[in-house]
Amino acid sequence: MARITMREAISQALWEEMEKDPKVFILGEEVGVWGGTYAVTKGFYDHFGGDRVRDTPIAETAIIGGAIGAALTGLRPVAELMTINFAFSAFDHIVNQAAKMHYMFNGQMVLPMVIRAVGGGGRQLGATHSQTPDAIFAHFPGLKVVAPGTPADAKGLLKAAIRSDDPVMFIEHATLYQMRGEVPDGDYVVPIGKSTVQRPGRDITLVTYSKMLEVSLKAADQLAKDGIDVEIVDLRSLRPLDMDPVVESFKKTNRAVIVEEGWKSYGVGSEVAARLYEQAFDYADAPIKRIAQTEVPLPYNRALEQSALPNVDTVIAGVKEVLNG
């Protein structure tokens, strides 16, 4: 067990899987000579060489389409999109090709591929480079979508994603790369499609994932000072979505708040709330609340941008509203 950053955890998972399996290779913009825009693949090019750490043109459809084709031949490509905002340029290949080929050709085609994509707001990158569109990708059957909120989960889920025979979107959050946490050494794998309780509590269920886990944990610490005992369930995977720990927690606390960074409309919170009502309506003591990004394209100005994103204060206010409502 070592205390390392999210960046190091992701890097470790990639490195170990590449050492273990020669079929695993990386392709993407600036992954090689540059060392990765977020330095995740620093040192990889020198160690593994340019065939396994392939710098690509700025051509997202060729990156994802290329990964699909290579996966069809039995390789295990890890395609990196410099940011998830560029996934829209490759949208057809992600949702119309990768997500459907196994089904459409009746199981003949197998696509063991990972798409690593970093997203999230809060860095003054303007509206086009600050999105959290995770829910969009989770909409499509055939894709698996994971988004870790701790370094340990990042390592374990990425290893699971690389070993999976299905196409997996692995969504990272740019402001979490420096986050530190305990990460098991060696071959640590977290199964895809398993939610987990990150903080036990009695009074209210907070459902979240990725960056908003960090925000929710901080809010829970402050709420504890007011005697409010929050239970936090981390989804970790958006598809398949594991509702069991969420429902179990809700049946205990009878109140829930869902916190996500993306927009509220048609989002993760909408999905989780609907499923809670479907599966545990009789247990609800208050309406379920969704906390999400204000429904505007994110502005550049720091204060304006911050005011549009969920934060510790909005989470605290939301929890109190549900408890007192």
Binding site: G66, G69, Q97, M104, F105, N106, Q108
Partner: protein, 319 residues
């Protein structure tokens, strides 16, 4: 090629022609749903091209894929069964006309989004290069696909990485109802390769022997490490784009002119002129082709629909 090979290729072309005619009938009877894009008129393109590939060479194409499937060795039975949506179809009835495939015969589909399979072809070739396989990927697409971004991203990357791909443009003169010169800045599609420093050739796609000769030469160059090349094959579809095509965009005279250059007739004449086989022997092949298609129709019609639970299979490898 010896006599038996000529007769085999001739029969393949006739099987495709009869299969497509039969499909049109079954479509009009409501037995085939969705879209149906016929290959009639273009038979010499894929028959010539695929006849010179090696088993390890991968083939991938667009949605006008019935003929390509036959040339790759899929049976008329499993092709027609797929068109009828039956469990015995090559894609289990879940793909339909535009999504035929058999990866064991190195036929990687039938792809329905114009141009989207080109980047995938780049990836197939990358896989072979990475693994040290001496295989060439044959990627077929229409003239219309050369105007979409996928085309440019894919062929650029294939050249940058020196990948073993033959880019085969089936120029049938129209992208749906829009003539090449109304949609493409250059009407000689092969010129587009020069922007990527890629060698390119043009060949008459109504002449099977010409297609074969040119394709064989290019495939073997690519196999020996030349890097990707482009082959533009000039052809014409005798029927509409799909079954619902009013054909307002072209004149009957033009269609008749091309029909006089029927690729099956041209090949038949070649075989006769060269003294390879007699008229009676070719008639026998025609009868055989009829029988193959009649058998396929009977098989497909008698086949069961997919079981209801098949709705849920193959969404994921690992559920």
């Amino acid at each position: 090629m010896d006599k038996s090979e000529h007769l085999k290729l001739y029969q393949e072309m006739v099987v495709i022609r009869r299969l497509e005619e039969k499909s049109a009938e079954l479509y009009q009877q409501g037995k085939i749903g969705g879209f149906l894009h016929l290959y009639i008129g273009q038979e010499a393109v894929s028959t010539g091209l695929i006849s010179v590939r090696r088993p390890e060479d991968r083939v991938i194409t667009a949605y006008r894929d019935h003929g390509v499937a036959i040339n790759c060795g899929l049976s008329a039975r499993e092709v027609l069964a797929e068109l009828l949506g039956k469990a015995t179809g090559c894609s289990g009835g879940k793909g339909g006309s535009m999504h035929l495939a058999d990866v064991n015969k190195n036929f990687w589909g039938g792809h329905a989004i114009v141009g989207a399979h080109l980047p995938i072809a780049t990836g197939l070739a990358l896989g072979d290069q990475y693994s040290g396989n001496k295989a060439v990927t044959l990627c077929m697409f229409g003239d219309g696909a050369t105007n979409i971004g996928y085309f440019h991203e894919a062929i650029n990357m294939s050249k940058v990485w020196n990948l073993p791909v033959l880019w085969v443009c089936e120029n049938n003169q129209y992208g749906m109802g829009t003539a090449v010169d109304r949609a493409s800045a250059v009407s000689e599609i092969s010129q587009k390769a020069s922007g990527y420093g890629m060698p390119a050739e043009r060949v008459d796609g109504m002449d099977l022997m010409a297609v074969r000769a040119k394709a064989a030469e290019m495939i073997e160059k690519i196999r020996s490490g030349s890097g990707p090349m482009m082959l533009e094959i000039l052809t014409y579809r005798f029927r509409g784009h799909s079954m619902g095509d009013p054909e307002r965009y072209r004149k009957a005279d033009e269609v008749h002119h091309w029909q006089e250059n029927d690729p099956i007739g041209i090949y038949r004449k070649y075989i006769l002129d060269q003294g390879i086989a007699t008229s009676a022997e070719l008639d026998f092949q025609d009868d055989e082709a009829e029988a193959v298609v009649a058998d396929a129709v009977a098989f497909a019609e008698a086949s069961p629909d997919p079981a209801p639970e098949e709705l849920y299979t193959h969404v994921y490898v690992e559920e």
